[in-house]
Symmetry: C2
């Protein structure tokens, strides 16, 4: 299905790639979010729990940089997780400006219970691509992403 050239071939190809990236991401994100919802968590909350589950106790600043969100955002998401008793803030003794976050034992339990399930869910959902295609797609995405950050 070839649509008519609108802005020149080069631009058409680039915009088409742009749209496909956004659509693919949207579809994946929606699936993922819906799955996470069955665990009783929002997506940002899941991301925080996953990060803490793998990294252990880290500062709020590091957490926000790993998740690519602003500090104000992390404050709120961690607030909500703290209300649920899944994470706790611990003021550092070396530098009283920094605050570390870690999973509570309840949070650890949740992490152990759901992460593997979610990973399996993701895995199942990309099997329309062969392993080779998955690797190839990953390489191209990485090349694109990396080139843009410079």
């Amino acid at each position: 299905m070839k649509t008519t050239e609108k802005y020149g071939k080069k631009t058409d190809i680039a915009l088409s790639l742009w749209v496909k990236l956004a659509r693919a991401y949207y579809t994946c994100a929606k699936l993922s979010t819906d799955n996470i919802k069955t665990f009783g968590l929002t997506r940002p909350q899941f991301c925080v729990i996953e990060c803490l589950g793998h990294q252990g106790e880290i500062t709020l600043t590091l957490l926000s940089s790993k998740l690519l969100v602003t500090g104000g955002n992390i404050t709120l998401v961690v607030d909500n997780l703290e209300k649920e008793g899944l994470v706790e803030r611990i003021r550092s003794k070396e530098d009283r400006r920094t605050i570390n976050v870690k999973l509570t034992s309840k949070g650890e339990g949740v992490f152990k219970n759901i992460f593997k399930k979610h990973a399996d869910f993701i895995t199942k959902n990309v099997q329309a691509l062969t392993e080779k295609e998955q690797v190839q797609l990953g390489k191209l995405l990485k090349k694109l992403g990396t080139s843009l950050k410079s």
Copy 2:
């Protein structure tokens, strides 16, 4: 840089793809959003203006389905654009439930002024990939996205 196998090869490859997709999308989206901001618009506002600029007058329901967002969302974004005098609501006479939206002349002017600029910006930013790679990446993304919607 090969990290140790954590959840089995198949899962590792799938999760890696997942992460790369999210990172690439994030980087592209951030660049795009920052560029749109220089036009004095938010990203959702730009998306509405772009859609109306290309499609012409359409119903709110159609607009929300094209942009993959909920109706409540469109109501708000269109509210804000209406306050700026960029779009206007027009109640349909055939079916008084439906409301059409279209660009005002001011909105048309904005669309004509910025869309080409933004398209060129996007084009410039994907040139780290060859045209062949862009097409290849697009194909894989489409295959992934399409397979998930079934």
